[in-house]
């Protein structure tokens, strides 16, 4: 299969995602410039971390006007798997491909550390290879990862099982102590109703090799390989 990793001018984890998909997971991967209008025949799309257009206005606010986003939206509408990591998640929110919005971390400061994240749903293309309730150790590195959705929307998201990742203790227990940024309901990642578009603040691509401190992130990229193989079978 082939991953497309979108490169916005201020993306800074584009190559990391490319490297993890191609060198670690071992699939084809191609970097796609944001001014391009097509996804080069990719089977899955990754919107990587970074500061897409400097993000001085709001994170991800300008990226949604990049030409490539038309192709990403069409791809998602056809049911194609799209993963937004960190800034990519913020872009998906601003583009309306996922519900809700990001605000500043509750403790204001940028937070960079390894956190335990529990997999809530395994019926998305990016969690298909996870065990239910599996706890992954993944790094976060963001200043605006405080997930917010208006009350009614939040209820819907929970009711539709759209919360895919949640910050918990290493043993998988939820609680305010384990919430690094103030996100409502400890939400670390969500999917759309159709379940093919997933966004998360933690960086699975940075936790795919042992020397880097965790290999738990590899399953996120490996899941989509498994999910696509299941579809084509």
């Amino acid at each position: 299969m082939k991953f497309a990793v979108v490169v916005f001018p201020g993306s800074n984890s584009d190559y990391d995602a490319f490297y993890a998909a191609s060198r670690v997971v071992g699939e084809q991967a191609e970097l796609v410039w944001h001014k391009d209008a097509d996804l080069k025949g990719a089977d899955a799309v990754i919107l990587p971390g970074g500061f897409a257009h400097g993000d001085y206005l709001r994170t991800g606010a300008i990226a949604r006007f990049s030409p490539i986003m038309g192709a990403v939206t069409a791809f998602a509408d056809r049911g194609g798997p799209v993963l937004g990591i960190c800034n990519g998640f913020q872009v998906l929110l601003e583009a309306g491909l996922l519900p809700g919005a990001m605000v500043r971390n509750d403790r204001i400061k940028f937070v960079s550390q390894l956190v335990p994240v529990r997999v809530e749903q395994t019926d998305t293309p990016f969690t298909a290879a996870c065990a239910p309730q599996q706890v992954l150790q993944l790094p976060i590195a963001h200043g605006e990862g405080n997930y917010y959705a208006p009350p009614g929307v939040l209820d819907d998201i929970e009711a539709n099982r759209q919360v895919v990742f949640r910050y918990t203790s290493p043993a998988g227990e939820p609680g305010a102590d384990w919430n690094p940024n103030g996100s409502l309901n400890n939400i670390a990642g969500i999917c759309n109703r159709r379940r093919n578009v997933v966004g998360l603040m933690p960086h699975p691509e940075r936790a795919a090799e042992l020397p880097l401190g965790s290999v738990d992130g590899r399953v996120v990229l490996a899941s989509v390989v498994k999910a696509l193989a299941a579809v084509s079978r």
Binding site: L57, R58, L93, A101, V103, R104, N105, Y148, P150
Partner: protein, 80 residues
């Protein structure tokens, strides 16, 4: 012609920066500070247009880019 756009977080959305500023003001002795909400302010310079058109254009800009309707509300002012 100039227009001003004030963007603020909706009252239901927690404003961490505002609350830190409030805490700082209180610690500086301004005990009467009850709350602070932080927002954004834009000054948009437009090619000449009549005020009504200007207001309509800038409102569109605020909707499309300057504010995120999920968390923010905005107010547009056109200056003569």
């Amino acid at each position: 012609m100039k227009a001003r756009v004030y963007v603020t977080l909706k009252p239901s959305v927690f404003d961490p920066q505002g609350s830190v500023v409030a805490g700082a003001l209180q610690s500086l002795g301004y005990a009467d500070v009850k709350d602070v909400r932080q927002g954004k302010f834009f000054e948009v310079e437009l090619a000449d247009a009549d005020p009504a058109t200007a207001k309509q254009r800038v409102t569109e800009m605020a909707d499309k880019l300057l504010a995120n309707p999920v968390i923010e509300s905005y107010r547009v002012e056109v200056l003569q």
